[in-house]
C-alpha cells in the first residue's frame, strides 16, 4: 500500500464558522479502498471534513486532491485558480454521501429516488436506470419497497434506500455521516449490515463518521481521532481503542464507554 498513490490528500485546510475555528490546519491522506473511521467529540470537525469533501462547505485555506486532481482549484497555465462549478461537478462524480437524516426526496418513490440522479446527470435511459436501481435496492434489502414512498418507511429502511441512491452514481469514495445516529437502536444493525456488504462486494474507499465504536473497531482499517479541528491520534483500531496514547483520546473513550457504548 505504501507504493500506491493516495486517493484523497488533504493538505493544511482550515475552516471557520464565524469566530469558531472548526478545522485548524488539518492534513490527512486516504489510500484507495481504505475504510476509515472518524471519531471524536461533537464540534471536533469530523463531520465538517466530510461535508467539505462533498463540497457542501467551502474551505478557507489549504488544498484537497482527489485522485491527484485538485478539488477546489483548477490548474490553468501553471496557476492554481478557484474551481468553477463545472470543475466541482466533475469532481463530485467521484464522491457519494449518506446523511445522518437520510435526506431522501419525499415526493419521489423509493425507486425514483435511486434513478433520478443517474438519469439526470449521466443521461442513463429509464429502463437501464431502473434495472440498476433494482439491483442496488436488492443489495440493501429494499427491492420489495421499490414502489413505496419514503414516508411509509422506517428510519433504517430510509437509510438503506439512501445508500442505494448514493451507490447509483458509482462513486469511488463514499462518505457516511453518522448514518445510524438518528435510528432507533433496533434499526442500527440492518444499516451496519449493509455497510459490511458494501465492504465485501465493492472496492470503494469509505470514510465513516460514527459514534458506533464497536462497529468502527471491527470495520475500519484505520481510526482517526479528531479534537478541536485537528487529528490528535490515528492508528489501527486496536491501537486507538485498546491502547490510546494521547490523553484526549483516552478521556474521550472513557466518556463513550461510561455512556454505555460497546468498544
Amino acid at each position: 500500500m505504501s507504493t500506491a498513490a493516495p486517493i484523497i490528500k488533504v493538505d493544511a485546510i482550515s475552516k471557520s464558522f464565524g469566530a469558531f475555528k472548526v478545522l485548524d490546519g488539518l492534513s490527512m491522506q486516504v489510500m484507495p479502498r481504505e475504510k476509515l473511521a472518524l471519531i471524536g467529540p461533537s464540534g471536533s470537525g469530523k463531520t465538517t471534513i466530510l461535508r467539505i469533501l462533498m463540497t457542501l462547505e467551502r474551505i478557507d485555506g489549504g488544498h484537497i486532491q482527489i485522485e491527484g486532481e485538485h478539488l477546489y482549484h483548477m490548474e490553468r497555465n501553471g496557476q492554481l485558480l478557484p474551481a468553477d462549478e463545472r470543475h466541482l461537478a466533475r469532481m463530485r462524480q467521484k464522491i457519494g454521501m449518506v446523511f445522518q437524516l437520510f435526506n431522501l426526496f419525499p415526493h419521489k418513490s423509493v425507486i425514483d429516488n435511486v434513478t433520478l440522479a443517474p438519469m439526470l446527470t449521466k443521461g442513463v435511459a429509464r429502463a437501464a436506470a431502473e434495472k440498476r436501481a433494482m439491483e442496488l435496492l436488492d443489495m440493501v434489502g429494499m427491492a420489495d419497497k421499490a414502489k413505496a414512498m419514503p414516508a411509509q418507511l422506517s428510519g433504517g429502511q430510509k437509510q438503506r434506500v439512501a445508500i442505494a441512491r448514493a451507490l447509483a452514481l458509482q462513486p469511488k469514495i463514499m462518505l457516511f455521516d453518522e448514518v445510524t445516529s438518528a435510528l432507533d437502536p433496533e434499526l442500527v444493525e440492518e444499516v451496519l449490515n449493509v455497510l459490511w456488504r458494501l465492504c465485501a462486494e465493492t472496492d470503494m474507499t469509505m470514510l465513516l463518521v460514527t459514534h458506533e465504536m464497536g462497529f468502527a473497531h471491527d470495520f475500519a482499517d484505520r481510526v482517526l481521532f479528531f479534537d478541536r479541528g485537528r487529528i490528535v491520534e490515528e492508528g489501527k483500531p486496536d491501537e486507538i481503542f485498546r491502547h490510546p496514547k494521547q490523553e484526549r483520546t483516552q478521556a474521550f473513550l472513557k466518556k463513550i464507554i461510561a455512556a454505555g457504548h460497546r468498544v
Binding site: 457542501l56 463530485r92 446523511f99 437524516l101 435526506n103 419525499p106 433520478l116
Partner: protein, 219 residues
C-alpha cells in the same frame, strides 16, 4: 323601492356575460400572478446582486401602490409610448403583476420551508442548479403553499370590479351600464353582490379541499 323580478330576468343575460369576463380575468390573472410570483421569488434568490435588488425594489414598488393606479397607468398611459393594449389584456396584466408581488412572498416562504438537507442531497447527487430547482425544490415547495396561493386568487377575484375603470366589460361594468340605462340600481348592484358571494363561497369550499389535499407534505 320594489324588487322587480321581470327586470331581473331582463338584465340577467347581460350580467351573465359580465360574470364570464370576471371569471376569465380572474383565471388569467391567477395564472400570470403564479408565474410572475415564481419569477420574482427566483430572481430575489439569484446570486446576481443587481438582478435580485432590482426585482426586489420593483416588487416593493408595485406592492406599495394601488392596483387602480396601476391599471390606469397600463391602460391610459402606456399608449403614450406606443403600447396600446385591449382592456381585458391590460386588466389581466395589472392583476397578474400586482398579485404576483404577493404570491412571490408565498413562494419565498414555501421555498424556505424545504429543509436544507434536500439541497445537500441534491448536491451529493450532483444535480445542477436547474435540476435541483425543477426536480427537488419546486415540487416540494408548491403543494404546501397551494392554499395560500388560492387565498390570493380569491382576493383577486373580489378586486376585479376595478377593471371596470379601464372599460373591461366585466360584471360590475355590465351592471353599471344597465343601471344607467334604466335608472334602476337596486337589482343590478344586488345581483353583482350575489354573484360574487356565491362564487366566493364555492371557492372557499374548494380552498378547504385544497388545504386538506395539499396542506402538508409527508416526510
Amino acid at each position: 323601492m320594489d324588487w322587480d323580478w321581470d327586470f331581473v330576468r331582463q338584465i340577467m343575460p347581460t350580467l351573465v356575460q359580465g360574470v364570464k369576463i370576471t371569471i376569465l380575468a380572474t383565471l388569467l390573472g391567477s395564472v400570470l400572478a403564479a408565474v410572475v410570483g415564481l419569477g420574482i421569488a427566483l430572481a430575489r434568490r439569484s446570486p446576481n446582486k443587481a438582478l435580485s435588488r432590482t426585482v426586489g425594489w420593483a416588487a416593493e414598488f408595485i406592492r406599495g401602490t394601488p392596483l387602480l393606479v396601476q391599471l390606469y397607468f397600463i391602460f391610459y398611459v402606456l399608449p403614450d409610448i406606443g403600447i396600446l393594449l385591449p382592456p381585458l389584456v391590460a386588466g389581466v396584466i395589472g392583476l397578474g403583476l400586482h398579485y404576483g408581488t404577493y404570491t412571490a412572498e408565498v413562494y419565498r416562504a414555501g421555498i424556505d420551508n424545504v429543509p436544507r438537507g434536500q439541497w445537500e442531497a441534491a448536491k451529493a447527487c450532483n444535480l445542477n442548479a436547474r435540476q435541483t430547482w425543477s426536480h427537488i425544490i419546486i415540487p416540494q415547495a408548491i403543494p404546501p403553499m397551494i392554499p395560500a396561493l388560492a387565498n390570493y386568487f380569491i382576493a383577486m377575484f373580489k378586486e376585479t370590479p376595478l377593471l371596470s375603470a379601464i372599460t373591461v366589460l366585466e360584471l360590475m361594468n355590465q351592471a353599471k351600464s344597465v343601471a344607467n340605462t334604466y335608472y334602476r340600481y337596486l337589482e343590478p348592484i344586488t345581483l353583482v353582490g350575489a354573484f360574487f358571494l356565491v362564487i366566493s363561497l364555492c371557492s372557499v369550499v374548494l380552498l378547504r379541499w385544497l388545504e386538506r389535499r395539499y396542506g402538508k407534505i409527508e416526510r
